[in-house]
Amino acid sequence: MKKALSLMLALVMVLALVACGGGNSSTDNGSSTPAPAETSTPAPAEAPAGVQVFKLGGTGPLTGGAAIYGQACANAAQIAVDEINAAGGNVQFELNYQDDAHDAEKAVNAYNTLKDWGMQVSLGSVTSTPCVATSAETFSDRIFALTPSASSTAVIADKDNQFQMCFTDPNQGSASAQYIADKNLATKVAVIWKNDDVYSKGVYDTFMAAAPGLGLEVVSDTTFQDGNDTNFSVQIADAQSNGAELVFLPMYYTPASLIFAQAKAAGYAPIWFGVDGMDGILTLEGFDTSLAEGVMLLTPFNADSDDARTQAFVKKYQEKFGDVPNQFAADAYDCVYAYAQALEASGATADMSAEQICDLMIQQFTTMTFDGLTGDGMTWDASGEVTKSPKGMIIENGAYVGLD
């Protein structure tokens, strides 16, 4: 009986191995004949000579609790790649997004799959913890990575080839405090944050460091954890009884949606202030958008902007995927265009190794200026951190509206 069982499982395992082996051999063929892009890559048909097709890969949570971010990035990157390929420039892309389910271990597996596929430039990972893991891999493998939205400083720390399109967490925390103080939104502030989350903790730390110097008084400071994030009555009551005029919510939108609903039930209506994780709350399934009315958030992207490129992008995204793109989507879109600009300027060719391209990209990104949907005149310093200005947004009538 035991033997029958082990045989059966061995069979499954052999099958699995064959499956990996199969995938491997086909990618081997792909990478061993890298030169003529015209024949080996099906994506841009009848590409003329001089056209360079680069293999662009990224990992993100396409399934699971953070799926809205991963899908936004994958969708927007696909739009950008389609546009660039259709425009027929010299630099074109083949895109491959792999699921990492917001988990470091799976992200490394996904990254290895991309490496087998022959990835030349990387979009890193969408969320912070997985990206810290994959950035260590891209760093040791010398593959250049530009992450759309992994905002932890650990992603770029001590790595010369890791760059970010979004603000770092510390940046968001201090910028939020600055914004609240500058606009005189409130002086008594409550903070509810998730103390087992890298992102929430990073924003919280710098907000708390910046707040006292700006005349903000934090009257209530409460936390919640994974698995303990459905009942917020204690946190809300604490903020309410301490007379907070504004509640700062450095968290993703799922718990925030519950906080809004429960605060309303408790008859508490402060100013709500979020950061970029709040983005996406309006597209949350089953969420009553009237609850988010008047919520402010700090994000570099405004889907209602009258900028022509933004409008074109939003329109295309809506046609293709049916909802309004959030800031993550815009960041991913910008990443692809930033790559296109940098690859074009550097004169990189598709038959170069990832390592050669990496050196060229480091040189380009630290010197170039890029105009995208999430800001004009973006620059990067050698640490990989981006410089651009955040925009305040408010939710009115179920849509994001720019505050300034």
Binding site: M8, L9, M13, A16, G23, L62, T113, A133, D196, D226
Partner: protein
Amino acid sequence: MKKLNLTKTSRNNFLTYGFVILFYIVLQSIAAGGHMSSMLKGQLVPICAYVVMAISLNLTVGVLGELSLGHAGFMSVGAFMGTTTAIALKSVVASPTLRLICALIVGAIFAGIVGFLVGIPVLRLNGDYLAIVTLAFGEIIKSIFNNLYLGLDSHGFHMSLLDNKLHMEPEGKLIIGGPMGIGGIQKIANFTVGFGLIMVCLIVIFNLVNSRAGRAIMAIRDNRIAAESVGIPITKYKMMAFVTSAAMAGAAGALFALNFSTFVANKFDFNTSILVLVFVVLGGLGNMLGSIVAAAALTILPEALRQFASYRMLVYAIVLILVMLIRNNPTIRSFFDRFRLSKKGGAEE
């Protein structure tokens, strides 16, 4: 003639050793030939860690007969303590392999101590209480490490809970950063040490099971009252199996953690405990070889299914259900039994 001296169990044990060694040699030679995909290469150490988790849980569930739902908690203790050791020893021990082995040992010791502490009240209980308490234990461990800050400077270790109040010297290094987990780990885990760990765990388990203590443990599993009536100290033997199992899980955790540049406490949650339990149930309770194969196959499977893109996890679930069904199908079972009998008959002639 020699073959006749071997009992059925020791034949099974040698089959298991042989299987593991064979796989190690095959995979190593594929890797040496440069034919291995990065995907598979990156999976080797996690597979070893999951295999050790599976056989250690099998000791609790299959041999001891108690359900543990917090095995990832022991893995977490081993991971945090082992990694801390590896980081702290960085300047003292030059050889990465030696440092890795130290980390594994420290991880195992700490997890064993925690297993002992959990076991004192719990193993005196009957029935399903161990399952409930280990479930709670897993959550407690997760919360503790999510709120623990640990730093190292020239004065030694600094520790604080809830908030980062370490007051370290400027050149001090923050090792455990609360919800940030441990970051910036030097990846020193390798397949050979992982293989060694599997072999050591197998030897320990097989020798424990075949010893006087092992027979006492199985007697407790089969009939607690009968075992007690012939004078077997129940708590002592339960504790022996449980602590051994916890220590192995700790070593597996340390191996797992040192294969990634970062990890967080939330990785070792209830889902991970259940995943390991799935390996054990699929492989067969008390069947070490089955656990090994199930752990390896189910770790590779989700990655091998990437070609199905969005349907990946759906296919994974279907495969899992099919394997469970096939495993319990009497027709297929008897087919393989016949196959086995005829082969055995042939061999003995």
